[in-house]
């Protein structure tokens, strides 16, 4: 009886892992403690001073009129620089590698995953600790973070239902599936990833109903968390500043034909902004996503729209205390086309060139709306099963509403897994 339960758990976990993408399939693992992880070493160079701040622009806040996330250099979305030259910023910033315009090699992430599957309970316990070596204006700025820590239970062996509690991946859209460098086809997150890929603390439920007669399945992934799905610099995930959770969910449909796989989904999120303290100050997000895989060719596209209410002057986020809680609205979308070319069974296993186009429009309270776009072109080499080499160029464009600035990026990533 116990063995049947474990088998059912492992079977369900295999499918669930595909949905959650936080770990290798559980079916390949025995019970007990497992330690996995990866290291992501990069080299990048950005134009200008590594920021998106235009020379001569002294408007305040400095981060309201430009896209400070544009000069991403790694899979965490860290940018080459966020140095505003002393100009006041109000917390709409990513993390920074602080390399500025200088070419530099850096260690983006050293990741250690701990996984425990008890033999007698339908449980999965998972923890992901990441070491982020950084050097900045105040010297050593290395951080150690708990990216994920959750317990997941599959209560019914007959249902593809999983309940999780702890800190886990987003449920919004599809890009969070590639949060980690060892899973990601390309290197840098999209321009809308800041809204959809943040991990957060709370509870989550995933349910999938297989419809084998029509080669299909529908799924619902829902969560109630502290910080929602915004990245941690924008919305702190570790505590609830408002005392109310943010609800988020994705409803998905997948068609799994022998030769082609199509997945579509729509996502939503609603709740109080967790970068301030007033429960009546809300935010909402809507999103749609599409994935098509045909032989080696894959297309992934996603769009999102976000609105955040204005609040008082008590803004606080992952970057520390800020000032005003400004009204904010944005929308954006990306499409990534990739083709995986199997090469050999030797050292060079696969070669995957890819192309991404994306566009984002945003507006802060009282500031003019601006639109940026970006072309990303690059390739990924899979060497054996443990090493990945990636290189890409980011061509950032200022479409309207913001000054021109030289902020293109060339970046590389070497990921080894263990």
């Amino acid at each position: 009886m116990k063995a049947a339960g474990v088998l059912a758990l492992l079977s369900a976990s295999s499918a669930l892992a595909q949905a959650d993408a936080y770990s290798p399939p559980a079916a390949s693992q025995g019970s007990g403690l497992q330690i996995n992880g990866y290291a992501d070493v990069g080299f990048a160079v950005a134009q200008g001073n590594g920021t998106s701040f235009a020379p001569g622009d002294t408007r305040i806040p400095a981060d309201y009129g430009v896209d400070t996330f544009a000069t991403a250099v790694n899979s965490r979305g860290d940018v080459a620089s966020t140095d505003s030259g002393g100009r006041f910023t109000n917390g709409f910033l990513p993390r920074s590698m602080s390399i500025g315009g200088q070419p530099s090699i850096f260690l983006s992430t050293f990741d250690v995953d701990l996984k425990y599957v008890p033999t007698i309970a339908p449980l999965l316990l998972f923890g992901r600790v990441q070491f982020l070596p950084r050097y900045g204006g105040s010297g050593n700025e290395t951080r150690v973070i708990v990216e994920q820590a959750f317990a997941r239970v599959v209560p019914f062996s007959s249902l593809e239902l999983a309940l999780s509690i702890g800190k886990f991946d987003s449920v919004f859209g599809i890009e969070y599936l590639e949060n980690q460098a060892n899973l990601r086809t390309n290197i840098t997150p999209s321009l809308i990833a800041r809204y959809t890929t943040g991990t957060s603390l709370g509870i989550k439920a995933f349910y999938r109903l297989q419809l084998p007669g029509i080669w299909s399945a529908i799924s619902l992934n829902a969560a109630a968390t502290n910080g929602g799905t915004l990245v941690e610099t924008l919305s702190p995930p570790d505590i609830s500043l408002v005392g109310r959770p943010i609800g988020s969910a994705r409803l998905g449909y997948e068609l799994n034909l022998p030769s082609v796989e199509v997945k579509v989904g729509t996502s939503g999120e609603f709740g109080p902004r967790n970068d301030q303290h007033d429960v009546t100050v809300h935010q909402w997000l809507l999103g749609v996503d599409l994935r098509v895989v045909y032989k080696g060719l894959s297309l992934a596209a996603e769009g999102v729209k976000i609105h955040q209410d204005p609040g008082a002057a008590d803004k606080s986020n992952g970057l520390g205390p800020q000032t005003l809680v400004s009204e904010f609205a944005a929308r954006g979308a990306y499409a990534t086309l990739a083709y995986t070319l199997p090469v050999s069974d030797g050292a060079l296993r696969k070669f995957t060139p890819y192309l991404r186009y994306e566009r984002r429009r945003a507006q802060f309270e009282g500031f003019p709306a601006y639109t940026v776009d970006r072309w990303t072109v690059g390739f990924r080499l899979d060497l054996w099963d443990e090493l990945i080499a990636k290189a890409e160029g980011l061509l950032n464009g200022e479409v309207s509403g913001l000054p021109k600035v030289d902020n293109n990026v060339f970046t590389t990533s070497f990921v080894y897994s263990f």
Binding site: T58, R59, A312, E365, G366, F367, P368, P403
Partner: protein, 402 residues
């Protein structure tokens, strides 16, 4: 059911126990005018609507009523004292619960620089403000940048900060400038056909006419109060504040209640007064004020403060006596009444009101008319931070109308 009620009670208790949050509210000039129409305290204290009585030029301050110009709304000329001198300012914006306020960029198209006269304005061009009033980061404090464009350029070609920055034209830093964006029909308060005046000394003040400018591609109106009216920290454009003291008494509920007397504008932040920065009489301080109550309870020496009002203003004396009691509004001596400059002391508060009755008035008095005097003669607990900034340039200071 019980658990639901308990939950609601718990949530309510949590809400009540939450620390107060900074409001982060900015009242722009347009909002203050709307406030005046709605008869809010901030609105009526800052703006006199067209045709309405000018408060400090009407009963009880003087006989009769003098109305604001019926063609436009007026910025109230608020009498004040600064550095022991009579002063007056206007209020064009109010910030509640802001940690600080920043200067924003202002772009002025020029075709070059004359070695004698300075920047040569592009004919028919307008200023371009870098931030509009729709943002709570708007402020009337501007760092000027001259944009050098080719002679003969279209004067309306540049209409936004984004266009200026994208144009690549050279930018040359210029002076700091105080200009407030608001409606077209607003000026410094005045009666029809007459210039604005200081309400007590009746010195004429400068009329400030609105002008057009660009913000984010749209036309706006702005009232310019001139260059070098404030200071910023050059590294981060934070506007330097001075303390503004609203003299107050404790009410029956133990809360401070403002006295209806002119406020005192300091020369530096609370606790750090500086020498008055006013080259050629043009003050570079006082346009950005951090407001405090200064509670006159148990001032140094245990004296009873007094408010000076000449017997020539009987209605005003009567009103003040009704508000404060006769002990705080002593009858000035004959010597005081004979002073030709006595109106400069109107509503000035002294540490000990009995000094008004002495023959060596005003030298006999220790006045609450400087930051140093207020901070030296009141205990540190007498100051209550109102968490409020207000802006507005001096329109009168020490006999000069800057």
């Amino acid at each position: 059911m019980h658990s639901r009620i308990a939950g609601i009670a718990l949530m309510t208790a949590c809400a009540c126990n939450s620390p107060p949050r900074p409001a982060g509210e900015l009242a722009t000039l347009s909002a203050l005018i709307d406030g005046a129409r709605a008869n809010t305290p901030d609105g009526t204290a800052s703006v006199t609507l067209r045709g309405q009585p000018l408060r400090f030029l009407s009963d009880p301050y003087t006989t009769g009523q003098q109305p604001q110009d019926p063609a436009r709304d007026g910025l109230v000329v608020q009498p004040a004292f600064a550095d022991a001198r009579p002063a007056a300012f206007v209020t064009t914006e109010i910030w509640d619960g802001f940690p600080r306020v920043w200067a924003q960029p202002l772009y002025v198209p020029v075709t070059g620089f004359d070695p004698v006269t300075g920047p040569v304005r592009l004919p028919d061009s307008l200023w371009i403000f870098g931030c509009g009033t729709g943002s709570r980061f708007y402020s009337p404090y501007w760092q000027t940048y001259f944009v050098t464009v080719p002679a003969g350029s279209d004067p309306d070609a540049l209409r936004s900060a984004e266009q200026v920055l994208s144009s690549g034209f050279p930018l040359t830093p210029g002076p700091l400038r105080y200009a407030t964006i608001g409606p077209q029909e607003v000026e410094v308060a005045h009666t029809e056909g007459a210039p604005p005046v200081h309400p007590f000394t009746l010195d004429p003040l400068q009329a400030r006419l609105p002008m057009q400018a660009w913000v984010d591609g749209g036309l706006v109106w702005a009232v310019d109060f001139g260059a070098d009216r404030f200071r910023v920290n050059p590294a981060n454009f934070v506007v330097q504040e001075v303390a503004l003291f609203r003299l107050a008494l404790l009410g029956p509920d133990g809360q401070p209640q403002a006295m209806d007397v002119p406020p005192v504008v300091g020369t530096g932040p609370l606790g750090t007064p500086r020498a008055a920065d006013a080259p050629n009489g043009f003050p570079r301080f006082g346009a950005f004020r951090h407001e405090y109550y200064a509670v006159l309870t148990n001032p140094a020496g245990g004296f009873t403060p007094g408010v000076f009002v000449s017997a020539s203003r009987p209605a005003l004396r009567q009103q003040l006596i009704a508000q404060l009691g006769a002990a705080m509004v002593p009858v000035p001596s004959d010597a005081a009444e004979r002073l030709p400059e006595r109106e400069q002391y109107t509503l000035r508060v002294a540490l000990d009101g009995t000094c008004f009755t002495l023959t060596d008035f005003p030298n006999s008095c220790t006045w609450f008319d400087t930051q140093q005097s207020i901070e030296a003669n009141l205990s540190t607990t007498a100051f209550v931070d109102l968490k409020r900034f207000s802006s507005g340039a001096f329109v009168f200071f020490d006999g000069v109308a800057p």
